[in-house]
Amino acid sequence: MFIENLLAAGIDLAAPLLIAALGELYAERTGVLNIGIEGMMLAGAWGGFVTTYYSSNPWLGLVGAILIGALFGLLNGMLAITMKVNQVVSGIAINILLSGLTMYLYRVIFGIPLLPVTVNPFPKLSLPLLGSLPVIGKILFQQNVIVYIAFLMVPAAYFILYKTSFGLTIRSAGEKPEVVDTAGLNVTRIRYTGMIIGGATAGLAGAFYSLAHLNIFANNIISGRGFIAFAAVIFGCWNPLGILLATLIFGIADALSTRFLTSGIQVVPYEFLLMIPYIITIFATLIFSRKSISPAALGTPYQKE
């Protein structure tokens, strides 16, 4: 029972990381870093929450989250691609802007509520037949809809990146942009799509926290999960399957720490349990940083000759 619940919760918590990391993968494969992923997840959580609050339809909330994420992906693209601002700096700037902006606009809309404002979240969706399977059903097929979206994105990302000409263009732009340019394709445009896809997926991932996991919005709702997704791309060696594995490890670690928290067994002070996801991320960085090979042109602006 414990393992079953743990794995179910782990998969649930892995889903937003997976969505955000797959989006980051697109961006990085085109050769641009999206460090603004943390802020864009926050914006998605905010946008999804506000849209759902007004429309009482979480599906519209998802659309809102994706749009607002894409918008800031576009802004990051303008800074990092067109203006050639250092990509790390532009991402940090977007994170700072969005942490201030979302809280201010939350305040504008909701004032200072006595109790946190809530919306109706996505319910858990038990898939027919599959959901009633013993053990597996509980772990895999009684999740909320965003989780299914997340896991469907893995084969989709694999197919797009490795089996289509669009994917080949994306990967080439991150490896040798001058070749893409010589072939008559527009590197700038490809990198913009990478940034916008990265932003849109970060928005979607953020909405998971405000619409499926918790049904509130708060300024610490993401608290570093965006950066963990960013790290998962490195551990996943820039490929969708690796990223799936990496985010599952983070999700289960996260679930494990919350399980210890609520179990009441005081083995170590709970503050140390809350450190677990972050410490695991640091260790994973150590183990995988030397092995994994990043796209050759990652982080370098492209200058047409």
Partner: protein, 370 residues
Amino acid sequence: MITVETETKAVLVKQSQNNSYQLLSVICPVVSVLLAFLAGGLMLLLLKINPLVVYQRMIVASFGDPYNLAEMLVKATPLLLTGLSFAFAFKAGLFNIGADGQFYVGALAAVIVSLKLGFLSSWLVLPLALIAAVITGGLFSGLAGYLKARFNANEIITTIMLNYVAFQLTNYFVNGPLKEKAGAYPQTNPISVQAQLPVLVTNTRLHIGFLLALLCAIVFYFIISRTSIGFQIRAVGLNQRTAEYAGMNTKRVLVLAMVFSGIFAGIAGFTEINGVQHILIQGFAPNVGTVGTVIALLANANPLGIVIGSIFFGFLQVGANIISQTSQVPKNAIDMIQGFVVIFVLISYYIQYRITAYQKIRQLKKGASL
């Protein structure tokens, strides 16, 4: 080694001699800040608040009262130090996003020393608390630097993750071993009078830590521009591979740059605990590191610019406190304006770059026609 050294020097000298470049680098941040206030003002209209009235009240209240004037410098002190922290690593081409965490462990070390050795005279306990903050801050970021040098671990990720570790570590101490005697709130006991930094101006909170922060800015300038290690840091920042070919131990340089960077943030923890708070409260002074980052980017990592920028952001924070107490303007409006400042500054760099490029082309054309 020598040729690389002279070439790098030539580039640096050329940059500083270009007058129009210097003028632009002053105008651009100023215009960016004004635009940020314009954007912030539009956002205030959403709350049906007249931004001009708010800004006017901010300026009058902040500059009209000696207490508030001093308070600006009080708020500027930790920002100046975290700004230096980000800038120092930036000079080596590193991104230390961990100033918040280094600030927290510095504060934690300072408060532990101040509580345990508070019975000693000020001449002993204050230097000890400072040293404790320097060591913990330096080690905490040095860890990220070591992981970068040894394992090539991305320092952005490690420093951010260490921030969360530092927050939880502080939470553990204020809820556990260091929890106040009364036991009501997640905070420590107040530190003794001997452990408090002397006040500079009576009837204000302005403490000697501000001078310490200014001294740090001078030390920053001295290390970066006048010492061999500073030169190596800049060389690694400009091009790590070239620095390596020139015979520099780049790994050592990276670790040292991170250690120094963390020391500045750690000192900020010390000045904030021993100079202002006199107690460590869970979640105190949030975003000190983030705002320091904003200031460092705004000043393009120049120490003098960071001093000016931190006083300006000190003014913003004091102003934000005053108007949030006396009107409907929420305090986090200022966080939003800070965000606008960064974005506009980055855009202004681009414009600055385009203008200088345009001027160069014009000069070349002039030369050609002669």
